[in-house]
């Protein structure tokens, strides 16, 4: 069953049932949607592209849990029905397509780029960075912006002013990068945003992340940064 909603025609989302063949154990929920689109009902709308869990397009609620539909295997649900709905906590544009403009603004607001007091010229070559310095931020750099963590976040569900798990994890990614000196520009954006102090250790964001990012940890660490300046990450300490 999949959610159908066309703002031109419908006042509210509804579920529609489809029967599809399941000839192959390798089939994922997305293959089921593609079968429907190609052979049963061309009007069903959803986003997808890479089909290998890296582009972040195909996040949906599958039986109530946020999932990348490209690696949610039908065999794990069969013989029960599979209910596919748009990600929770987002406005719906159409069917399974959510409106994620809010995240795009939030992403920009945390200044997700390297900030330096002085840029070094290209001719000077690369910044030296050790593997252990990369390890400091590695997991936070794995975010594919799939929005599953926002769909799982009880705080974002109540208050969409909250920056949210992925944006804070990405701010953390730059704050912890030995090449970056922008923490003081980012910290106020995060500390002043609504919601961060409401975030409890629920950690649903980290549970649903398909890439092993731990946004809950980023949020707790960021809370510490705002109170304990003497423990700032490497690139952002005063000389």
């Amino acid at each position: 069953m999949a959610t159908r909603f066309d703002p031109d025609k419908d006042s509210a989302p509804r579920l529609q049932s489809y029967d599809i063949p399941f000839p192959d154990e390798s089939m994922v929920v997305l293959d089921g949607l593609n079968y429907i689109k190609a052979h049963v009902d061309g009007t069903l709308s959803y986003r997808w592209s890479c089909r290998m869990g890296i582009c972040g397009s195909c996040g949906m609620m599958v039986n109530g849990t946020p999932k990348l539909t490209c690696n949610a295997f039908l065999r794990d649900y069969w013989p029960k029905p599979v209910i596919v709905e748009p990600l929770s906590n987002f406005p719906i544009i159409r069917d399974l397509v959510i409106d994620m403009e809010d995240f795009m603004h939030k992403l920009k607001s945390i200044k997700p780029w390297i900030i330096r007091k002085q840029e070094i010229p290209l001719g000077a070559g690369e910044h030296r960075q050790t593997t252990s310095q990369i390890d400091d931020f590695r997991q936070f750099s794995q975010c594919i912006n799939c929005m599953l963590c926002y769909a799982a976040c009880p705080v974002y569900g109540l208050n969409d002013e909250f920056l949210g798990p992925a944006a804070i994890a990405l701010a953390r990614r730059y704050n912890l990068d030995s090449r970056d000196q922008g923490l003081k520009e980012r910290l106020p954006v995060i500390a002043d945003s609504e919601g961060i102090w409401e975030c409890s250790f629920v950690g649903e964001c980290s549970v649903v992340c398909p890439k092993g990012v731990d946004p809950a940890k980023a949020i707790q660490q960021t809370k510490l940064d705002t109170t304990m300046r003497f423990l700032l990450p490497y690139g952002n300490r005063e000389p």
Binding site: S26, M104, W113, D180
Partner: protein, 570 residues
């Protein structure tokens, strides 16, 4: 009506790099970016292995150029390759300054790994998610430029040509269903590849050759379209890419007899031979009965068990994740099933060394372009570097051009917008009475292309394919569109994409049929030898007025500077 100095179509690595270069060339200009997906969804995200650049004292520009030219089977334009190898290191360092988490050596410098067809270690990498990290780095960096304005999830249906100049595009805003004319003094196409014309491909759903078809319809030639790359190692069924870096790090390819069969094909390079040759070797082994048989066809083993868990987790963690999630194996303990899979398009929009096309104001970069870098076969890890080097070149050239010409008159644009919106509405949205499903035609096209324009080709197969594509084009005229909504109508965009794919497929087949030799990725069973006398030339295909007519082909000399064509053995 939105108006820009430079408009970039496509938000992948080449497009984003172009947008930033355009602004940095002239900070006073306004740059637009139209992409049918949010930029971080672009297919660059799936690139794994790395980006080639000469960074080490023991390496040299000459060797990188030679490897690339030999890899191209001498169909690359050599002055383009020579410029490329000099720019690539600068671009890799630029990415580092922007925050790309390149994997490092113990001294903190950017690490390099071996790659197919490269004589030395020169592939920079961010574990085995290089494309993902590069795309997110350059996208996030682009957010700091106030001069860059994005139109996300807008689908370009037509290039605006006024007089002889390209002056913008017409785009369908997917969310509202509205058609917009977006004008610009210069337009850069950076729309990526066309892998979805094949059934078995590593390419994402969005790789439908849009930019190639847009330029082709506007009268620009498509160059070397017969040169389609098949990557040796895709997962059966899904076509998910298993990076060449698996072999770069020491993985073995073995057949069903447990033999490293490449010793019969590329004895001096073994697993680090170029993609075209290894894909052919695997196909021959399959034909001769030395492949494994699986539920999704024949396959080989790609074995990394001897590399150890530590190296795999450091350098190939995504491969372990893909194996676990999509095949249900742990590559530390089990070999990976792989077979050749469509991966990359060497051919593309005919553009010169500065990415300019034959239409003033129109540029092309990245996979959708053919600037003459890759010839008959691209070497692994040259394409991420290509996106950076030629994305930047296109941005600079378009920026300079935009600063030198006057703005566009808006009067004729209004009429063009009206005409194009009416064309799409009447052909698709208001269409009644069709009976053909888009999905069915698309699947048939993909199956036919796999069969007729795959690793090996014959005249017979290509003739049959020409007929099949002609039939599919006729049936496309009778498609049924069930979705008449204006809001996020993905059946409409699927129809527009299928229209583009049928168009570019035809250019692939016509170009392949006419090249009666074997060179690079174009292997003709009926003409197994390379023929420099006749075919040391680029094929350039031009569209005829009618969509069903076969393309007109021209040939153009390859630019040879320092590397005389030789037999290509490894």
């Amino acid at each position: 009506m939105e108006s820009y100095d430079v408009l970039v179509v496509g938000g992948g690595l080449a497009g984003l790099r172009a947008a930033i270069a355009a602004v940095e060339t002239n900070p006073r200009i306004k740059v637009g970016m139209v992409s049918k997906v949010y930029p971080m969804r672009s297919h660059t995200v799936s690139a794994e292995g790395g980006a080639a650049a000469v960074l080490r004292p023991e390496d040299s520009y000459e060797t990188h150029a030679y490897d690339t030219i030999k890899g191209s089977d001498y169909l690359a334009d050599q002055e383009v390759v020579e410029a490329f190898v000099r720019e690539a290191p600068i671009e890799v360092i630029q990415m580092e300054h922007w925050g790309c988490p390149w994997s490092r050596d113990p001294d903190g410098k950017i690490s390099v790994r071996p790659f197919g067809g490269m004589t030395t270690w020169r592939t920079c990498f961010a574990a085995d998610k290089s494309g993902f990290h590069m795309l997110h780095t350059v996208f996030q960096t682009s957010l700091k430029y106030k001069q860059i304005h994005r139109h996300d999830e807008a689908f370009v249906t037509k290039l605006l040509i006024e007089g002889s100049r390209c002056v913008g595009v017409i785009a369908l805003d997917q969310r509202s269903g509205r058609f917009d004319a977006i004008t610009a003094k210069a337009v850069i196409l950076a729309t990526g590849g066309l892998g979805r014309v094949y059934a078995f491909t590593t390419n994402g759903n969005i790789c439908t050759g849009d930019g190639m078809a847009l330029a082709y319809r506007a009268g620009v030639g498509l160059k070397d379209m017969e040169m389609v790359q098949f990557h040796p190692t895709g997962l059966p069924f899904t076509g998910i890419l298993i990076t060449e870096a698996v072999r770069g790090e020491g993985g073995y390819l073995t057949n069903s007899e447990g033999e490293r069969f490449l010793k019969r094909y590329v004895p001096n390079k073994m697993e680090l031979g170029p993609r075209d040759i290894i894909s052919r070797a695997m196909t021959v082994e399959f034909e001769e009965g030395r492949g494994f048989e699986g539920p999704h066809g024949k396959y080989m083993h790609l074995d990394v068990r001897h590399l150890g868990e530590d190296l795999i987790d450091r350098k190939l963690p995504f491969m372990r994740e893909l194996g676990r999630e999509f095949v249900g194996i742990d590559i530390v303990h089990e070999p990976i099933p792989v077979r050749p899979v469509q991966h990359y398009m060497m051919g593309g929009v005919d553009a010169d060394i500065s990415c300019a096309t034959a239409i003033p104001g129109l540029y092309a970069a990245g996979e959708c372009a053919n600037v003459g870098l890759n010839g008959g076969n691209r070497l692994g890890s040259n394409s991420l570097s290509e996106c950076l080097v030629f994305g930047a070149a296109a941005g600079r050239a378009a920026s300079a051009y935009a600063s030198s010409v006057s703005a566009v008159a808006t009067n004729p644009i209004d009429a063009m917008l009206w005409d194009e919106a009416r064309r799409v509405e009447s052909a698709y949205l208001e269409k009644t009475g069709g009976e053909e499903r888009i999905g069915t035609i698309r699947e048939e096209m993909q199956r036919d292309m796999d069969a007729g324009a795959g690793v090996f080709r014959t005249r017979e197969g290509l003739d049959k394919l020409t007929e099949q594509l002609g039939g599919l084009r006729e049936r496309f005229e009778r498609i049924k569109i069930e979705d008449s909504s204006r809001t996020f109508n993905t059946e409409l965009t699927a129809a527009l994409e299928l229209d583009f794919m049928l168009e570019v497929s035809q250019s692939i087949v016509a170009s392949a049929l006419a090249r009666e030799e074997s060179r690079g990725a174009h292997a003709r069973r009926d003409f197994p030898e390379r023929n420099d006398e006749k075919y040391l030339k680029h094929t350039v295909a031009f569209s005829r007025a009618s969509e069903s007519a076969r393309p007109r082909l021209e040939y153009r000399d390859v630019h040879i500077t320092n590397f005389k064509p030789q037999a290509r053995t490894y």
